[in-house]
Symmetry: C2
Subunit: 240 residues, 2 copies
DNA sequence: CGCCGGATAATTTGATCATATTCTGCCGGC
DNA sequence: GCCGGCAGAATATGATCAAATTATCCGGCG
């Protein structure tokens, strides 16, 4: 009992040393958010914007040294992402970036068509002028990225457009569901865009914006459905 | 350096002792699944079947001693559940069982109506005789639980019925989404059932079964939609 | 003289880490 | 070709620190 107490003091000293090194790193990274949250967000963005390749293995130890944090936060972030289907947990405790196959794409399309038009319709009856203006600005940046041939920029702004739109709908539960779907096809979308470039990337954003500005819920839903179908068709054909 | 080594040996010894006790406990629980998976499943069932009360705080340390495992597995299970919305992460790093309010119920209803009829329709064109028979058997057990006034049994068998039905649809991604929704309203559903007992718990399961047996996709979807609306109305009125 | 509000101490809980242990997959010997 | 050891990665634990909540205490006021 006593010896354990002494021992603990020593460990406390070492722990403090490493902790200080750690603290500096976290401050450098940014806000006062917990490390597991930071790891989660950075990994999520990497998946969403195609910095990870389908099939690529994701190891805990790799992340710990890459992000300079302990294993526990990494572990938690990975659990969150695997729970959301953004990463694939191979039975033999190995984690990889998911490789989409036809049935998965079909289900994702079904789910997106079931949810995103509903959100667009809600947004149409809730949006105000400022929100539409911000949405227009995002869409212009999106067009710029396409013209520039900037794949990463396209992915970022496209997601931004849809995220802003979903936020307007004031339905956080539905929005969370949709975000989870986007995480699932993010890596594959990047692959497709990488193959074909940004030349042939039509979207229905103009039609969506018109419907929103007119407060036309049904029109917004239809336009969103078309946008989703177009996007998922791209993925299907690109991976075929 | 040396002292640390000695210390480590002692810690290892204690760790092993508790680990062996643990191993026994894990074996008792069942298969050779990892601890975090077991914790996740047990917590999920508790949420799904109403053993946790809305608003009740869920603490890591409480779980560690309750389930006799270390903090890391508990932590991972909680991350998975909060990611799915089954638990609510209060900003001040405290976790509680979610308390549903009207907008949340509305969104859950929207999502369920968007997804579950689709799954039912898919099931209708995929089911075979054996699956229908199993589904019938589950529904009979469900009726038994209702007649007995067994709330817990009702929750278990009702979930089982829908889970089996969704499995027939062979759309694991959609099924996962729906499972997440069920987790969100599980605790509140229990509260409602606890208030009213199992007397007034009508469902559309007979209609669903007929449609499935007839291979009538559209009929199955309609019946499922009615079942979902009925169930969610119960919750809305019960919590009002 | 008793009660209440705010400041402080104590406890509880969460977050993170280093380490020990276990499992998986691979490689070389038979 | 198969089996046993080995390297590496994942799982799990306990220690420790930080934050937040709760309990306590004391001075001022009714």
């Amino acid at each position: 009992m006593f010896s354990r107490c002494v021992m603990s003091r020593k460990m406390a000293h070492w722990g403090r040393r490493s902790k200080e090194r750690q603290a500096v790193n976290l401050q450098a990274e940014g806000t006062g958010l917990p490390a597991h949250e930071l790891v989660y967000r950075r990994l999520r963005d990497k998946i969403l914007f195609g910095e990870l390749e389908p099939g690529q293995p994701v190891t805990i130890q790799g992340l710990t040294e890459q992000m300079q944090v302990g294993m526990t936060p990494v572990r938690e972030a990975l659990r969150r992402l695997t729970a959301a289907g953004a990463l694939d947990f191979q039975g033999n405790r190995r984690i990889i970036v998911p490789v989409l196959h036809a049935p998965a794409i079909e289900q994702l399309t079904l789910a997106r068509i079931a949810l995103e038009p509903t959100l667009a319709a809600r947004a149409a009856v809730r949006c105000d002028a400022g929100e539409i203006a911000r949405l227009r600005a995002t869409d212009i940046r999106l067009d710029g990225a396409i013209a520039r041939g900037d794949v990463r920029g396209y992915l970022v702004e496209n997601h931004q457009f849809h995220a802003e739109l979903n936020a307007i709908a004031r339905a956080p539960i539905l929005t969370d569901l949709v975000e989870g779907l986007w995480l699932r096809f993010g890596p594959s979308l990047r692959v497709v865009c990488g193959q074909f470039g940004t030349r042939n990337l039509p979207d229905q954003h103009k039609a969506i914006l018109s419907a929103l500005a007119a407060g036309d819920a049904d029109g917004a839903a239809r336009a969103m459905r078309a946008d989703v179908e177009q996007g998922m068709t791209q993925i299907t054909e690109g991976l075929a």
